[in-house]
């Protein structure tokens, strides 16, 4: 019988620790255990044999660290140690798993290993695993959902073997990278692994409550493979002290609580496993029930669509938004990221991401947007596109289980979208329209919902992963638009028990004061069972509607959130800025709000250009000079820069109202060089350059020299600023300069960073070394022949 046939039907036993046992036989700290597969096969085989005799059904080959990131050995190749590892284990006569541990590296955006590289690393080893006869792939000790996703995809796409995946949780049920149990379960189930679970990190006692949470959300068999207790340290040595009998006793409780496969990790020995098998053998496993929770997740949190409605922020969508359109065209991600952060701060639970514009490469843009947004917020995202390629690639690189907007009742749509969901997992919005258009009646829309749900079943997509959008039609042109939508909301919930979603704002299209209609319709929709409204969380009226609904329906314990939100709010109108305060004063002191208010007043009296010339620039100069003299310090300089930025924005708004074309700005490209992930210095320079009216193209951190050269060519850039923090990365700075000078000899390069000095900068061929951010500004001004006063 294959392992897949037995999994989930009978209790399966996995082995225990390998590393500790090999250490006892002389493996040194830091030595590669996998080399022992060839150097001392008899010792490795002996351990396997003991576990087999203890009663294990599945043995993990000694291949935990066998991946090209971790395993560097001149004597034995990766392929050789994996082959030997599997062969050694197979001698014991049980099922053998290719053991796949983490790469030991942190993935981008916070580390330097890209998702695609991680995928390649795992693809290589799972390929060997299948080639040399492993019965399954066992992905374990993962502390990062993103890395786990890369490993699972690699295993699913490159082998036909069953895939088990276990993560390492702490006592609070969190991963080292922040994820919780429901978010892990949602993602791994979405990726369609065969079994999920936990290993390492905890002892059996601490694993028990985590198992219970996992069982609550998981429709898959759950594996528990804990350490022999929590790690303890004595004299700098780590040890585990739960004895085999105690271990076995708790493992029995774990089986009673619903584990489908059990084993041990660090500190467990064949004795632990033998006792465990003796205690648990013959026990039936608890039935594995299909769960109905609709879960969307990111690396850091899960959002469950339940009775309490959630908010999907609608603002990252260029439709009707001039600034966002411009930002997308310029690849100015800061604008998009700010939209993400402000929506989260305003109370959004999920963010819709739509970057579709006629003239852009939507696939590349969507991928980059998803990556970037996930680097600043842990909110789950809703990928919003009709482009199937963009859908596929965005879902692939998304860290977690995303929401997808959308599929509809047309055959063509379902044929294209469902395979993507089947492959990567996700909750998909089903729009109730089909080849015949949008039905006028609630019944008609419910019928399409039914069609979508049953078609999804063919792809093994459960209805919990479908949320229905019954479509709110604009009432100014469709008299019954709202009525039908409300009726349909109720109907689909009653008929199919599915969750619902609605783009709320559409209802008021063409009407004045749209927020009045929107917020009332929003309340009505929630009352009719709307699970998730796609709304503007920055709209006060919409949030009032939401907060009131939640309080009224008893979802806000003791009205705590409501009180926290509204008790302190004063009912007086916004105060006018104090008469004495001037714009330069506000900027010099970094007072953002005041700078905004004063500038709003000023534009009524003065021309925008005069404001810039007479108020803004002089104020900035005072601050800049102060910084250079040592009377103003970095945080103050930046607070002032922020205040000035806000004032500039108001002035520019006025310029465009007056139909005055802004002068074309000089472009400067900034990047932190390849291999370097510290970019705070570069970002400081950026803020200041923008203040002084340069257009900054920010390529971020860890940027390849080739990419910089290409962008310089594309945009005909005359000045590039590079930063590097350490001696190890100045090398790539030098290489970048070399390539730049070769391709674009006219382009100047200024450099900065902790290890640099003038001498060093000269040596690597830089044109300018900026000791601090202001010096870069001066150099840029000189280069572009800008006068100090304008």
């Amino acid at each position: 019988m294959s392992i897949k046939e037995r999994l989930g039907k009978e209790l399966l036993f996995l082995d225990g620790g390998m590393g500790t046992l090999l250490q006892a036989q002389g493996l040194e700290a830091g030595e590669l255990p996998e080399t022992w597969n060839i150097k001392y096969p008899e010792k490795v085989c002996a351990v396997h044999q003991q576990y087999a005799q203890a009663g294990c059904d599945i043995l993990l080959a000694n291949t935990f660290g066998a991946n090209r990131c971790k395993y560097h050995d001149t004597e034995y190749s990766l392929e050789e140690v994996i082959r030997a590892g599997i062969e050694n284990a197979k001698k014991a006569g049980t099922y053998v798993a290719l053991d796949v541990g983490p790469t030991g590296k942190l993935l981008k955006p916070l580390g330097d290993l890209s998702f695609e590289e991680a995928y390649e690393v795992f693809a290589e080893i799972v390929h060997y695993g299948e080639k040399y006869g492993a019965d399954l792939i066992y992905i374990e000790t993962m502390s990062d959902t993103y890395e786990a996703k890369a490993a699972v995809l690699a295993a699913k796409e490159n082998t036909s073997l069953p895939v088990f995946a276990t993560m390492i949780f702490d006592e609070k049920g969190k991963l080292l990278t922040g994820g919780d149990v429901p978010s892990v379960v949602a993602m791994l189930e979405g990726l369609r692994v065969d079994a999920i679970g936990m290993n390492c990190g905890l002892g059996p006692k601490q694993a028990l409550p985590i198992l219970k949470i996992m069982r609550k959300y998981s429709s898959l068999p759950v594996i528990v493979k804990p350490n022999a207790g929590l790690p303890k340290q004595k004299d700098g040595e780590t040890y585990y002290d739960v004895e085999p009998e105690t271990f076995a006793k708790t493992m029995l409780e774990i089986v009673d609580a619903g584990a489908a496969a059990v084993g041990g990790c660090c500190g467990t020995t064949p004795e632990h496993i033998r006792e465990m098998v003796n205690a648990c053998q013959g026990k039936a496993i608890l039935p594995i029930e299909k769960k109905q929770d609709t879960i969307i997740s990111s690396y850091g949190r899960a959002v469950i669509l339940g009775d309490k409605p959630v908010i999907i922020g609608e603002r990252i969508n260029p439709t009707g938004k001039k600034h966002l359109k411009e930002a997308l065209k310029k690849r100015d991600f800061d604008y998009i990221l700010k939209e993400a952060i402000t929506q989260q701060d305003a109370g959004a639970h999920i963010l819709d991401v739509n970057v579709g514009l006629p003239d852009i490469d939507e696939v590349a843009m969507m991928k980059e947007a998803v990556r970037q947004i996930q680097s600043v917020t842990n909110l789950p995202l809703q990928i919003d596109t009709v482009n199937t390629a963009a859908m596929d690639e965005a879902l692939r690189i998304y860290n977690g289980k995303p929401m997808l907007n959308s599929v509809n009742g047309k055959k063509e749509s379902m044929d294209a979208v469902f395979p993507v969901i089947q492959k990567y997992g996700g909750v998909v919005i089903g729009l109730t329209l089909d080849e015949d258009g949008i039905p006028d009646t609630a019944g008609g829309r419910a019928q399409i919902a039914g069609k979508i749900i049953s078609e999804a079943e063919k792809y093994d997509i459960d209805k919990k992963d479908i949320v229905i959008d019954v479509l709110a039609m604009t009432i100014s042109s469709e008299k019954n638009g709202a009525k039908v939508a409300l009726e349909a909301l109720k109907m689909v919930r009653e008929m199919y028990g599915v969750r619902t979603v609605l783009g709320v704002s559409n209802i008021s299209f063409g009407l004045p004061k749209r927020s009045i209609i929107n917020s009332h319709f929003y309340s009505m929709a929630m009352a009719n069972g709307l699970s998730a409204g796609i709304i503007n969380p920055l709209s006060e009226e919409m949030m009032q509607a939401y907060d009131s609904y939640v309080a009224l329906m008893g979802y806000d314990e003791n009205c705590e959130s409501y009180i926290a939100q509204y008790a302190a709010q004063k009912e007086e109108p916004v105060k006018k800025a104090s008469v004495q305060m001037t714009l330069p004063y506000a900027i010099e002191r970094g007072l953002k709000e005041e700078a905004y208010k004063i500038t709003r007043e000023l534009v009524k009296e003065k021309t925008p250009l005069d404001i810039i010339k007479e108020e803004l620039i002089p104020a900035l100069n005072v601050v800049g000079e102060g910084f250079e003299k040592g009377s103003v310090f970095l945080p103050q300089l930046l607070m002032s820069a922020d205040a000035a930025k806000i004032a500039f924005a108001v002035v520019k708004e006025q310029l465009s109202k007056d139909h005055i074309q802004e002068e074309k700005k000089d472009k400067i490209l900034l990047a932190t060089v390849k291999g370097d992930i510290h970019d705070i210095g570069k970002n400081i320079v950026k803020v200041l350059l923008e203040n002084y009216d340069f257009e900054v193209i920010d390529m971020g951190k860890d940027v390849l020299p080739e990419a910089i050269v290409q962008r310089v060519k594309e945009e005909q850039i005359r000045l590039v600023g590079l930063s590097a923090l350490m001696t190890t990365t100045v090398v790539s700075m030098e290489e970048t300069i070399r390539q730049l000078k070769e391709a674009e000899p006219e382009c100047k390069v200024m450099v900065g960073g902790a290890v640099l000095n003038q001498e060093y900068a000269d040596r690597i061929g830089a044109d300018f070394y900026g000791k601090d951010a202001m010096q870069s500004v001066h150099y840029a001004q000189k280069l572009f022949e800008k006068k100090e006063d304008l």
Partner: protein
């Protein structure tokens, strides 16, 4: 002023200047937020060591470094240490780099000061442990200090198994990830030398803006 606050102020480049109220607010807010998101984890292990003139042997590691040899002179044992504030600190700073640069800079400085504090605590723990054996400790010394080559970062992480134990790894350029992390060696010796600090002060960059005075 609390030590970590004064350290943060130093990292922000204030030198001996008085800190303005708004920056002080930023610093205080930063510490509060950092305390909320930090997942402090540390791991250490003792190894026998052999110190020669400009070379040090720690377990299986061979380190060519005059400065380290000087720091460990007379030691026969070292504690190898890895500490991290966790990945959410990096996320917090990244978020502020988009939303509020002044706050990002303050957070960055405070996180560095916070990390030093956490290292001090770990060091004190080791000191106490060793005091029972009537042994004393030397100031911690990290790869990258003086001529202690940063490339040794790799061995230290591997030997301590930091990725699995505390979620600490490094980039191909030997930068620690999460960034607010430290690895260090702490010498253990019989003699109680009145140690001068050899962290910041031992650096050759005499004109550094952030140098501890």
């Amino acid at each position: 002023m609390e030590k970590r606050v004064s350290e943060a102020v130093r990292y922000l480049g204030y030198g001996k200047h008085v800190v303005d109220d708004r920056t002080m607010d930023l610093i205080e807010q930063s510490f509060t937020e950092l305390e909320q998101v930090a997942q402090i984890r540390g791991v250490y292990q003792y190894f026998a060591c052999n110190v020669e003139k400009d070379e040090v042997y720690v377990g299986k590691m061979q380190i060519k470094s005059k400065d380290l040899a000087k720091n460990l002179k007379g030691c026969r044992e070292v504690a190898m240490l890895g500490v991290t504030l966790g990945i959410d600190v990096d996320r917090l700073i990244r978020r502020y780099m988009v939303a509020d640069m002044a706050k990002a800079v303050a957070c960055q400085a405070c996180a560095a000061a916070f990390l030093e504090e956490v290292c001090d605590e770990q060091q004190e723990k080791i000191e106490k442990e060793k005091a029972e054996e009537h042994l004393h400790i030397r100031p911690r010394f990290s790869p990258g200090y003086g001529d202690f080559d940063i490339h040794h970062q790799k061995d230290i992480l591997r030997i301590l198994d930091t990725h699995r134990k505390i979620g600490l790894s490094m980039t191909d350029s030997f930068m620690l990830t999460p960034t607010k992390s430290v690895t260090a060696l702490i010498g253990i010796c019989e003699e109680n030398m009145q140690c001068h600090r050899t962290g910041c002060e031992s650096c050759e960059k005499q004109d550094c803006l952030y140098r501890r005075s």
